[in-house]
C-alpha cells in the first residue's frame, strides 16, 4: 500500500478538526528557524495531531475504547511506514524522535534512540531530539546528548546538544546545592540519579559541577556561538549572559552600572543612587 492512501482518511479528519488547510511546505528548514505550526498536510504533523486527539479521548467517559485502540494502532502503523519509506530521510528521523519520546512506540523507545544515535547521526533533524531531552525527561537523556554533542555530523545538532547537556549539569548542581542546604530530603540525589551517578555527583561537589557547567557554556559560546536555538536566537550570546550572571550578578558583588535613557528620553545612571538602598525592578506592563 502506498503511503498517501494510508494517510488520506486521517488527513481529512485532521483538516476538519483544524478548520484550516495550509499548503504543503518543504521540511528541510528544521533547525535553522523557529518551529513551524502544525501543518495537517505534512504527514508527520497529521499523525501527531491524531495521536493527541486519541490520547485525550482515551479514558474519557463515553469514549469507545475499541475504536480508539484501532486509531492508536493505525497511528503506530503509519509511523512505522514513515520511518521505513526513506529511513535516513528527514521525515523518518523526525518520526523516530517523536515515536521514541511521545510514547508512540514506548516499548521500542530504546531501540529507536539507539538508531538515532548511530545510523541517523548525520541528520540535521536531530536538533529536535537535542531540544526535547530536557533534564528529568528520561534516564538516557544525558548519554544521548553526550553522544550527539560529540558525534553528530551537523554542527547545529552538536551545539544544541552541548547547550542542552549544560542544562543537565545545572540541574545536578541545583540538586546538590539543595541537598547541602537541607531544602530537600538527603536521599534526593540517589532517587533522581541512581546510586552510581549520585556518588559521582557527590564526589564532583558544588565546585566541580559549577566548573563543568561553566566549561560547557564557554564551549557553547566559543565553538557554537552562531548556532540558532528553536526560536531562532543565537545560542552563544545567551550562554554568555548566563555566565555573566553567574559570575557578576550574585549576592555580594557590585552591581554593574546602568547608563541609559529614562522613559522620557533623559539619560541617568544606576550609580546616581549610591547612598540609597535601591530596589531594582525589571518590569513591564503586560
Amino acid at each position: 500500500m502506498r503511503l498517501p492512501d494510508l494517510l488520506l482518511p486521517l488527513a481529512l479528519t485532521v483538516a476538519a478538526a483544524a478548520q484550516t488547510s495550509i499548503p504543503a511546505t518543504p521540511l528541510q528548514k528544521v533547525g535553522e528557524a523557529k518551529s513551524e505550526p502544525a501543518n495537517p498536510a505534512n504527514p508527520l504533523d497529521a499523525l501527531k495531531l491524531e495521536w493527541d486527539v486519541v490520547s485525550k479521548l482515551t479514558g474519557q467517559p463515553g469514549s469507545d475504547a475499541q475504536s480508539l485502540e484501532a486509531r492508536r494502532a493505525a497511528v503506530v502503523r503509519q509511523a512505522q511506514a514513515l520511518m521505513a519509506e526513506d529511513p535516513r530521510g528527514e521525515i523518518a528521523v523526525r518520526t523516530r524522535i517523536w515515536a521514541a519520546l511521545a510514547g508512540v512506540e514506548a516499548a521500542k523507545a530504546d531501540q529507536l534512540l539507539d538508531e538515532l544515535t548511530t545510523k541517523d547521526l548525520a541528520s540535521p533533524a536531530l536538533v529536535d531530539l537535542a531540544d526535547q531531552l530536557r533534564p528529568g525527561s528520561r534516564p538516557r537523556a544525558r548519554s544521548v546528548l553526550s553522544t550527539l554533542s560529540e558525534k553528530a555530523g551537523d554542527r547545529s545538532v552538536r551545539g544544541r546538544s552541548l547547550r542542552a547537556l549544560a542544562d543537565h549539569v545545572k540541574s545536578d548542581l541545583e540538586l546538590v546545592r539543595a541537598v547541602g542546604a537541607g531544602d530537600v530530603p538527603p536521599d534526593s540525589l540517589q532517587r533522581a540519579n541512581g546510586l552510581e551517578r549520585a556518588a559521582e555527583l557527590q564526589k564532583l561537589g558544588i565546585a566541580g559541577l559549577q566548573a563543568q557547567y561553566e566549561g560547557m557554556l564557554e564551549r557553547v559560546s566559543k565553538e557554537y556561538g552562531d548556532v540558532l536555538d528553536s526560536r531562532g536566537r543565537a545560542i552563544g550570546p545567551r550562554a554568555e549572559g548566563v555566565l555573566f550572571e553567574m559570575r557578576n550578578l550574585v549576592v555580594g558583588k557590585l552591581a554593574p552600572d546602568i547608563v541609559a535613557e529614562d522613559v522620557d528620553g533623559a539619560s541617568f545612571k544606576l550609580s546616581d543612587y549610591r547612598g540609597k538602598v535601591v530596589l531594582l525592578d525589571f518590569w513591564g506592563h503586560w
Binding site: 540609597k276 538602598v277 525592578d281 525589571f282
Partner: protein, 102 residues
C-alpha cells in the same frame, strides 16, 4: 507589583531608599499612560522597547519581574525576594546604613 511598590514608596518616605525600574514595554507612549494611571512615581530605564533590549540582556533577565536589592554602596544583597521578604530586606539594609552613619 505596583501596589506593593506604591506602599513601599509611602512607607519609606524620607528614608534613604529608592525604586529604580528597567522597563521592557514595546510602546513608549502607552507606557507613559500606564505610569500616570498606576501612579508610578519612580524612574525607569527604557530597555529599548523589548524584553530582549540591551539592559535586560546584559543582566540576563529571562523572567519578569526580576528583582534585585542593592545596598547604599551599590552591592547586590538580595535577588528575587518578594512580599514580606522584600520588605524585610529593604528594612535590614536601611537599618545597616543608618547604623553606619551613627
Amino acid at each position: 507589583m505596583y501596589p506593593h511598590e506604591r506602599s513601599l514608596v509611602d512607607r519609606m518616605r524620607g528614608e534613604p531608599f529608592a525604586i529604580v525600574g528597567v522597563n521592557s514595554d514595546k510602546d513608549r507612549d502607552a507606557l507613559k499612560k500606564t505610569i500616570q494611571e498606576e501612579k508610578i512615581t519612580w524612574r525607569s530605564f527604557w530597555n529599548g522597547g523589548s524584553t530582549s533590549g540591551p539592559i535586560s540582556t546584559r543582566w540576563n533577565v529571562s523572567s519578569w519581574p526580576t528583582i534585585y536589592v542593592l545596598d547604599a554602596e551599590g552591592r547586590i544583597r538580595f535577588k528575587n525576594v518578594r512580599g514580606e521578604k522584600l520588605d524585610a530586606a529593604i528594612d535590614q539594609l536601611v537599618a545597616e546604613l543608618k547604623a553606619k552613619a551613627k
